[in-house]
Symmetry: C2
Subunit: 335 residues, 2 copies
DNA sequence: AGAACGAATGTAAGCGCTTCCAACGACGGA
DNA sequence: TCCGTCGTTGGAAGCGCTTACATTCGTTCT
């Protein structure tokens, strides 16, 4: 119907066609109350006819703010981050702002991308191990409101974490209650602050109980890595229980145990972290994380910062909950 | 360290401090080749010192494009959409553009939000049942490049779908091969074009085979709804096989069967769709969807449109793959 | 030596919007 | 009747950037 390469309709054309000034158009399309009702209607009608779609860039420039927030996360493939992002998006959208996302996942120029993102938003949250502290500090230094998620504090920036250490202690206590005395820990504390906290709490709890804590058996964060590491580990030694850094690793370990002809929890107990959907169906004992709440909380905190409400930085720690299923040991003959 | 309420550093300050014009700053920070090396270095140094973060709004306005793409999806909670978004983000980022997301999930003013989003991007993809065709048409009408994902075509807009009908036939054939002759279909074809396609293909395949196809047992798209619907269904009747519109519904149905003391696939066979992670661990026969590829393809197609490369609209159908596990019936005694 | 050229940089005009301030009438009160 | 007021609208500046075009100034060529 319409011609090719149509230039977008601007406020000027609407103004001309409606026989008013651009100021009036601008007002009619927003302020409403400042412009007479008939004029307002006419302008809106013309805007509609012309399919006028105001350029947000123009508005952003004029208003001096983007009305958009960013979020940086390592990946979206696990259920973990997706939930967090969703919780974030929900709240941010409710505040009338848009959401820019950036996955750094093994992107070579992550720092650059984050810096670029910083120029498009009024504030952003940065999750876990995505970019170097240096980059975070640099951005914070420009005055851009920032919230860190599941990542140790950098300078004076707000931080939100889950209580990994606490749940690690709960988990350790539960495992000890089952009578387990020899352990392995699958995951790399250096790879993520979450894992570091989990391992630290776990180690501490065992030490407190007079049990010798294991060194971590380092492996990446996915099912495949968990499988490989567990297979190697279990064919070499046989701990009472294998504590995995997250559910995906545990799922891999479960498969490895099965392939080695080992029963879980009969021959070896197994636990995860995060309580992803698959954990429920594999009866995996794990730790539930309030992912959605994590994202939502970050969004709200960031908004306070953006509007200059929040005064001093306060770290926030969200509670976690131990989910006992059957992979950790027999509970009244259920298995 | 620095004062409160610092106004962001602009290109003017950098220019002044470096003793050059803003044009030179702009060039030094990008063109590079047009400005003498020493000047370039000096400018970059000053920009660094001042923590200059160029406002993307200014640039967008000057260049007449946002260098950002949008994506609209219903939800992110299932693994399905998350993967699609991730595939999309990956490609878009590689093209040097940013990604704006919008989840419409039961948001009352979805249409408005999508319209607003349209003013911030150079193009966007719209998934499944998020907004009315009317809204899509309205946006397409403004000339904004658009790609539809898992949604029936609207006007002359590009569309990308997965081959639901084809896989539905494969699935039906497989089920018939197991000797199943009475069926139920759990899911609402009116709720999503994907489900509609699945049901249509399934129904057709049964009809072709001379088997009476069931009417759909309508239910929402989540585990809980699947559980409720299946529980009701299975306590009323006993089909040989229950074909579920997606894995989450199937997971609910599985639980329902278990609670009713029914064995799967002994008493009733069960299948899903999507091949989410949990499906693997519940040994659910399902249909694998190339979600990541879906997002990536959409991103590329959109980019062609934005750059005016693509000429005529072509619908794209991505292949799916039947994943046979054990929930559909016994395969050489494996169960 | 003077002209022609090219590299380096500056000038300034926008990009599309918001909003302060001024202008303009119509109206009511003194 | 005149003026102050208020409701409505327009004029115009300016947000921070890019870029076409102009300017400047060494070089080189004749």
């Amino acid at each position: 119907m319409s011609g090719r390469e149509r230039r977008p309709v601007t406020i000027y054309e609407v103004a001309e066609r409606a026989g008013v000034s651009i100021a009036t158009v601008s007002r009619a399309l927003r302020d409403s109350e400042l412009v007479a009702a008939p004029t307002r209607r006419r302008v809106q009608q013309v805007a509609e006819e012309l399919r006028f779609r105001p350029s947000r860039a123009g508005r952003a420039l004029a208003e001096g703010q983007h009305a958009a927030n960013g979020i940086v996360f390592p990946d979206l493939s696990g259920p973990y981050y997706a939930e967090v992002v969703l919780g974030y998006e929900e709240v941010v959208a409710k505040l009338g702002r848009s959401v820019l996302i950036l996955a750094t996942n093994g992107r070579p120029n992550a720092a650059e991308a984050v810096l670029e993102l910083a120029g498009r938003v009024d504030g952003m949250v940065i999750m876990g191990r995505t970019v170097a502290d240096e980059v975070v500090a640099r951005i914070a230094d420009t005055g851009l409101p920032l919230v860190l998620l599941a990542r140790p504090p950098v300078g004076l920036v707000d931080t939100i974490m889950t209580d990994n250490e606490h749940s690690a202690r709960d988990l350790a206590a539960h495992l000890l209650g089952h009578g387990h005395r020899t352990f392995a820990f699958l995951g790399d504390p250096d790879e993520s602050p979450d894992v570091a906290g989990r391992y630290a709490g776990f180690r501490q709890a065992l030490t407190d109980a007079g049990v010798d804590p294991p060194d971590p058996t380092r492996c990446a964060f996915d099912v495949r890595a968990g499988y490989a590491a567990a297979r190697e580990l279990l064919s070499r030694t046989r701990p009472n229980a294998v504590v995995c850094a997250n559910d995906e690793v545990a799922l891999g370990a479960l498969q490895a145990a099965e392939d080695l002809g080992l029963s879980v929890p009969g021959d070896v107990a197994l636990t995860g972290w995060d309580d992803i959907m698959a954990a429920r169906y594999t009866r995996l004992t794990t730790v539930h994380q309030p992912m959605r709440a994590l994202g939502a909380t970050a969004a709200r905190r960031l908004d306070e910062r953006i509007h200059g409400v929040a005064t001093k930085t306060r770290p926030d720690v969200l509670p976690t909950r131990l989910i006992v299923r059957t992979s950790c040991g027999p509970h009244d003959r259920e298995v």
